[in-house]
């Protein structure tokens, strides 16, 4: 049987479906949210259940500067995507670079915080329950920042090579959804670890 019999007059009605990139990314974000939810639940469940020190109030310092950097990178990546959509490739490169720098600052900041905790305060992942939950939750987030940064660096290299065109704005837009998600998760992690958890 020929399937040609199904063909109606072309373009009889406009047939528009959602972008698969956006739908795919939103689905991935839903899956990632479920993973983070489990880690956050474990963190909250174990607050104050450590049987030995050090305790959160002894060692945690609120990373205000880091937080400002990461949250503002959401704004800069948005500006970058908007610039590319308007075919302003140079402006895109500038804002993309700023995003990369802000993300790197956050990651370096987390690294320095961990170094201080491990070598000065003597808290490792196996010290007590606080250490286990703290390093896994913050580490899971830092892992996502790292994955995002790898993506950002790749796109930055393509930009410097002059390979990025306005036609790519859809892909960059889909990627920026992931970065916004990583930022939003930080708001939750920050609240749980540095506000509620102390």
């Amino acid at each position: 049987m020929s399937s040609a019999a199904f063909v109606r007059n072309a373009a009889e009605t406009e047939w528009v479906l959602p972008s698969r990139g956006r739908v795919g990314m939103f689905s991935l974000i839903a899956a990632e949210s479920a993973i983070f939810t489990i880690f956050v639940v474990a963190y909250i469940f174990y607050i104050g259940k450590s049987m030995s020190g050090p305790m959160p109030k002894d060692v945690l310092e609120t990373p205000i500067f880091n937080t400002i950097c990461l949250l503002s990178s959401s704004l800069t990546i948005h500006l970058a995507v908007r610039a590319l959509r308007r075919a302003r490739v140079n402006a895109f490169g500038f804002w993309w670079f700023v995003t990369m720098v802000l993300g790197t600052i956050f990651l370096v900041g987390t690294g320095r915080e961990w170094q201080r905790m491990i070598f000065e305060k003597g808290l490792t992942i196996s010290t007590n329950l606080f250490g286990t939950t703290y390093y896994s939750l913050v580490g899971l987030h830092a892992f996502h920042v790292t994955v995002g940064l790898i993506g950002i660096v790749l796109a930055m290299i393509f930009t410097l090579l002059g390979k990025v065109e306005p036609a790519h704005s859809e892909r960059v837009d889909v990627f920026s959804l992931y970065w916004h998600f990583v930022d939003a998760v930080w708001v939750v992690v920050f609240t749980v670890v540095y506000v509620i958890g102390r």
Binding site: S3, F6, V7, P18, V23, S27, A31, I38, F45, L129
Partner: protein, 557 residues
């Protein structure tokens, strides 16, 4: 869009060397090839998991049996459960979904073909990793072989102190790896169904199989992720000395149970909703009637999807939750029976007054209907907390969930297998052998799992490797084990039919069942590009419209 065509490639090119053709299967991103790979892979593990189950049942055939040691019994029990859930039922359902979804919605492939291949190979290597434990599980300590912690791997059995060697690590990593693959499949299902439908196919005109797999996709990404998270925590505990589930450092063994079952119960619905999807496609075709209550079927499925995330702790009534917790989970468990019951009535409504053809796919679906109903009824019994306190951890529970998975899901899978075999292979199966398969499997199933309820009620605990004579369990265990051999005979007939039909079966036309959905509009097997011209649909039964231009469906929908 509808004018989009693909230049037809020359068909009948000279047979290429076998190596090259196998290479094609390894590097393929075609949803049909990947779907068939999933199904073959799952059938392999059906045999492996079946052998493990047979070993368990032979050990239990008489009291004080010495067929295998207690250690081997525990390993077989763990591997049987893990294999059947993660490497048999899930892959075979994903395989059918991967194969059928693009064909049913008039698309040429999934939304992300390479992600599709990635997902399959992650699942495949997850299975290999699990079975490599037989060789690599000894580790430096020289203790342990295959995982022996049960498929639920409760803490503290999984801690370093009680599980030396690497067997538990292989279990954890296998589920972590295959879980990533499953999440990829879930993302792909959702994106394909929302973004790749052919012109005219609004959400309300999708075949029910497509709708139900959309719900499955959503459940997969939300339910497999907690398991992935829990496996990461277990890895941290075992490799980095973490304390998530280490009660001596303030950790909680009960938290693992919550994390496992918040995956574990939606998982049951991830497995059964695709089975519902098969039945919803097969029953109308062999009753010669459109599905009864399409919108209600969709609504009931979405309701099941939502409620399934709030019932998990009915696996934990004996842990000692608060009375409020117990009441809540009893209530939600009762509530989920309502949309499930609606579905059963809708299938019966579809059959009612239809011209029923008792072909093999329909027989398996009718078996599914009755057996799934009974499985649901014992589920309601176990969902009542006081009854559960009495029978939790007994063979009654084992009988209940095998009634769901074998009597419900596996019967529907066999039905789907026979129904779509002509489309996938281009050959007709042997109906006589298929009927032998059905009746033998039905007898074996009922001997094994009907009678398994009774030793459970008489107090026989699950997971024991042997038992004392004279407790009234002996005769029941004997009958249960004898039933297994009927099932083995049926599976041998099934495999034989599969191989014989594949090579010697009569060629199948593009539409051997006089069916109504788009996959039957293209050749059997479909070409690489599925449809030379992207179809345009106007109703839920596009082929009915085509065959009956004088009385098309779209006039009434």
């Amino acid at each position: 869009m509808s004018s989009e065509t693909i230049a037809l490639t020359a068909i009948g090119e000279a047979e290429r060397p076998i190596g090259e053709r196998l290479h094609d299967w390894v590097v393929t991103v075609d949803h049909k090839k990947l779907g068939i790979l999933y199904i073959l892979y799952a059938l392999l593990f059906l045999v492996v998991g079946g052998i493990e189950a047979t070993i368990l049942r032979i050990q239990l055939i008489v009291p004080h049996n010495h067929f295998v040691s207690p250690e081997v019994f525990n390993r077989m029990m763990t591997m049987h459960g893990t294999t059947m859930i993660f490497f048999m039922v899930m892959p075979i359902l994903f395989g059918f979904g991967t194969y059928l979804i693009p064909l049913m919605i008039g698309a040429r492939d999934m939304a992300f073909p390479r992600l599709n291949a990635f997902s399959f190979w992650m699942t495949a290597f997850g299975g290999l990793l699990l079975y490599f434990s037989f060789i690599g599980g000894n580790g430096l300590y020289g203790a342990g072989a295959a995982p022996d912690v049960g498929w639920w791997a409760y803490a503290p059995l999984t801690s370093r102190a009680f599980s030396v060697g690497h067997s538990t690590d292989f279990w954890t990593l296998a589920l972590l790896v295959s879980g990533v693959g499953s999440i990829g499949t879930g993302v792909n299902f959702i994106a394909t169904l929302l973004c790749m439908r052919c012109p005219g196919m609004t959400l309300g005109k999708m075949p029910l199989l497509a709708w139900l797999n959309l719900v499955v996709g959503g459940m997969v990404i939300l339910a497999i992720s907690p398991l992935t998270a829990a496996q990461i925590m277990l890895c941290i505990d075992r490799y980095l000395g973490g304390h998530f589930f280490d009660t001596q450092a303030g950790g909680s063994a009960v938290l693992w149970m919550h994390f496992f079952w918040i995956f574990g119960h939606p998982e049951v619905y991830i497995l059964v909703v695709p089975a519902f999807a098969f039945v919803s496609e097969i029953v109308p075709i062999f009753s010669r009637k459109p599905i009864f209550g399409y919108p209600i079927m969709v609504a009931a499925t979405i309701a099941i999807g939502f409620i399934s995330f709030s019932v998990w702790a009915h696996h934990m009534f004996t842990v000692g939750m608060s009375s409020y917790g117990n009441s809540f989970f009893v209530f939600t468990t009762m509530a989920i029976a309502v949309p499930t019951g609606i579905k059963i009535f809708n299938w019966l409504g579809t059959m009612w007054g239809g011209k029923i053809q008792f072909k093999a796919p329909m027989l398996f679906c009718i078996g599914f209907l009755f057996q799934f109903l009974i499985a649901g009824l014992t589920g309601i019994m176990l969902g009542a907390a006081p009854f559960n306190w009495q029978l939790s951890g007994s063979y009654f529970v084992v009988a209940h969930f095998h009634y769901v998975i074998v009597g419900g899901i596996l019967f529907a899978v066999f039905g789907a297998f026979y129904y779509w075999f002509p489309k996938m292979s281009g050959r007709l199966y042997n109906e006589t052998l298929a009927k032998w398969h059905f009746w033998l499997f039905l007898i074996g199933f009922h001997m094994t799992f009907d009678f398994m309820h009774i030793p459970g009620i008489l107090g026989m605990p699950r997971r024991i490797y042997t038992y004392e004579p004279g407790r009234g369990w002996d005769i029941w265990n004997l009958i249960v084990t004898v039933g297994v051999f009927f099932q083995i005979a049926a599976i041998l007939i099934f495999v034989g039919n599969l191989l014989w039909s594949l090579f010697k079966g009569d060629p199948a036309s593009s539409d051997p069942w006089d069916a109504w959905t788009l996959e039957w509009s293209t050749t059997s097997p479909p070409p690489d590009y599925n449809f030379a011209t992207i179809p345009v649909v106007k109703s839920r039964r596009p082929l009915w419209d085509l065959k009956h231009p004088e009385d098309p469906d779209w006039k009434y929908e």
